[in-house]
Amino acid sequence: MMPIVKEHSPAAEQFLQDAKRARWHDETLWFVRAKRDKAAHSLPGWEALREQASRIKAHTLSRLDDYLVEFETRAQENGVRVHWAVDGEEHNRIVHALLKANGVKAVVKSKSMLTEECGLNHYLRDKGIEVVDTDLGEYIVQLREEQPSHIVLPAIHLKKEEVSATFHQHLHTEKGNNDATYLTRAARKVLRDKFLSADAAITGVNFAVAQTGGIVVCTNEGNADMGVHAAKLHIASMGIEKIIPKASHLGVFLRLLARSATGQPITTYSSHFHRPAPGQQLHVVLVDNGRTRQLAREEFRNSLKCIRCGACFNTCPVYRRSGGHSYHNSVAGPIGSILAPNGDMRANADLPFASTLCGSCTHVCPVKINIHEQLWTWRQILMKEGLAPASKKIGIRLMAGVLSSPALYRMGGKMARWVLHVAPSMAKNRLNPWFKQREMPEAPKESFIEWYQKRGKNGK
């Protein structure tokens, strides 16, 4: 998928121009965060569970190669065909070859952020294959030719009036009927036909169990199951970090996933696939696409623990007020901001700066990824790589020079306060972003240090 290359800050400013909608977006996602809090507080041993999940993932990442091979062996023993893709391009080629070999013309696809990352929909469409996203939110954004703005709630940037208009245009529903039940039923009716007529089903993978060779797909709509059960060909695409060692570990992750994502105790459907049904083919495509590179970056390795719950989106005060599209990446939000620069530093150099480093993401994360620290570390790397505008480099060098020298600092401070007194327009103008919506602080006559020196002279 072609992301709209745009910087986060201006895109966020644009998002905020519709103040009413921005407030609604913020409040809706905060509501989800509050539901998550309630769910977390009602489960005894929440923090211990997070710790356990984090350690299982740390262990798995330390032996990722072994567990992937173990998974492949077990899966093959069960009659599953396993493919390896080094990047998104190879993933798309593998999927297309499988579809072509089976004469597939129409595909239903359940939620998979990986296929978004690989741009699979566009790839297959260009080859003349129809792909229908069957998750309701994804279906809506697909009709609108948009990207999901949230990994769990793909159409959270839209209001029901807009969904109504989209459905009216594409599904010929009643104009202006904004009733959610009516609209959902209309989508359901269309999607039922798609399920029944599709030749193949593509799903994502939430967890792949090395010990059993099985995969687990979590949905709330049952759309993965409907697709898989009706089609002769099931292709499951997964990032290589989705592996967990044992089936018993699912007890840790399934309890954390839905509670963190939406505040539910568990997703409505947690579907386990171990072998193809009689007469069916089951293929699993294991995709690297930069994950081994991230694995090798020690300070960012933890980012691969992510189970895509979206809790860091919902808690992030910046995400809630800038919308997912401002992140111009298939995965938005705080986690997207530490994953994206791994793929393309230049295109995503703005994302680690789209944060106040408040740290809420780190503490809400069910697998304890130190997201805000990784944002900080990315900033250091991006600036070392020279991805800062020249004006910023000069400004920082000047600041560093002044602040390293007590004499220059005293003089600079005095001058700044003096300027604010005699020529306030130097600061109080529209070119100063601070002043756009905020007044300048009042400049006192003397600094604390000046006051303190006088106090010393006056015998305390």
């Binding site: 986060h8 800050s9 966020a12 400013e13 905020l16 921005a22 913020d26 905060w30 809090d37 977390a40 507080h41 923090e47 005060p317 910046v318 007020r321 680690p352 700066f353 789209a354 106040t356 480093l357 408040c358 740290g359 809420s360 780190t362 503490h363 809400v364 900080w376 900033r379 250091q380 991006l382 600036m383 800062a388 920082i396 600041m399 560093a400 020079g401 602040l403 390293s404 020298s405 007590p406 600092y409 401070g413 306060r417 972003p433 601070w434 919506q437 905020r438 007044e439 300048m440 602080p441 009042e442 400049a443 006192p444 003397e446 600094s447 604390f448 240090i449 006051w451 303190y452 020196q453």
Partner: protein
């Protein structure tokens, strides 16, 4: 016990009253306080902007000024956190480590080191408590809403000792105000919106003052309040704890 008072650069220049209140508090509770005259900045603005590599000069100067004190205390959770996490200087490993281990934010120092239980302060007002992120989540000066943990707050335990003061919480008790260092100008629109939203919750509570442990957050909120021509004022927690 000798205490070096570390005054954040913007507090020194724009909010001397906050530093004076911190100094007086420490002296009142028996500390021998030194104010190194050649202190400047901890280097956080550069580091958070991605230029930690340019903070060597600040680090060296910080060590020169503070390594001889038993404790270093500052009225800023954010600056203290930066020093704790990032003060390193190649050859002066021991001095840097001493500072990192002995630097305290003022409310933390009053509760944990001095064990203050009777402030003898008075501030008869309705006050909204703004919880600054770096103090809260970085230094763990209070429990946080993301975690399942017993509730506590060092700031509030002190404010409860202040005569006449009524503490009021925002509906979202610990959401960021949007200051975020250079974020407040590079992401001006989001920053201002975050601040305005924080303020609205406090204003709904009918507070007279908004207080907190970081003047940077309060400076941002103050800028927004003044533009709104609001009657609500900001005040650093040290100034309240020192109010007689």
């Amino acid at each position: 016990m000798t205490v070096g008072l570390f005054v954040p650069c913007y507090v020194d220049q724009f909010y001397p009253g906050v530093a004076i209140a911190t100094l007086e508090l420490l002296e009142r509770f028996g500390c021998t306080v030194g104010v190194p005259l050649k202190q400047t900045c901890c280097g956080q603005p550069m580091a958070n902007a991605g230029f930690a590599s340019s903070t060597e000069g600040c680090n060296r100067n910080f060590i020169d000024n503070f390594s001889t004190y038993d404790y270093i205390v500052s009225p800023s959770g954010s600056c203290v956190l930066h020093v704790k996490e990032h003060l390193h200087e190649g050859r002066r490993h021991g001095e840097a480590e001493h500072i990192r281990r002995h630097i305290y934010e003022i409310t933390e120092f009053l509760t944990d080191v001095l064990g203050v239980s009777d402030l003898k302060a008075s501030f008869p007002h309705r006050v909204g408590l703004h919880v600054s992120c770096h103090g809260q989540r970085g230094l763990h000066l209070s429990s946080m809403s993301e975690r399942v943990e017993p509730p506590f707050s060092k700031a509030e335990s002190l404010l409860r000792q202040v005569k006449g003061l009524e503490v009021v919480h925002a509906a979202r008790p610990d959401e960021c105000c949007g200051f975020g260092g250079t974020f407040c100008v590079t992401e001006e629109a989001v920053s201002a919106r975050m601040g305005t939203d924080r303020l609205a919750e406090h204003q709904d509570n009918g507070v007279e003052y908004i207080t907190g442990g970081d003047m940077s957050c309060l400076m941002h909120l103050e800028g927004l309040l003044k533009r709104q021509k609001s009657r609500v004022k900001v005040i650093h927690i040290a100034e309240i704890l020192n109010a007689q």
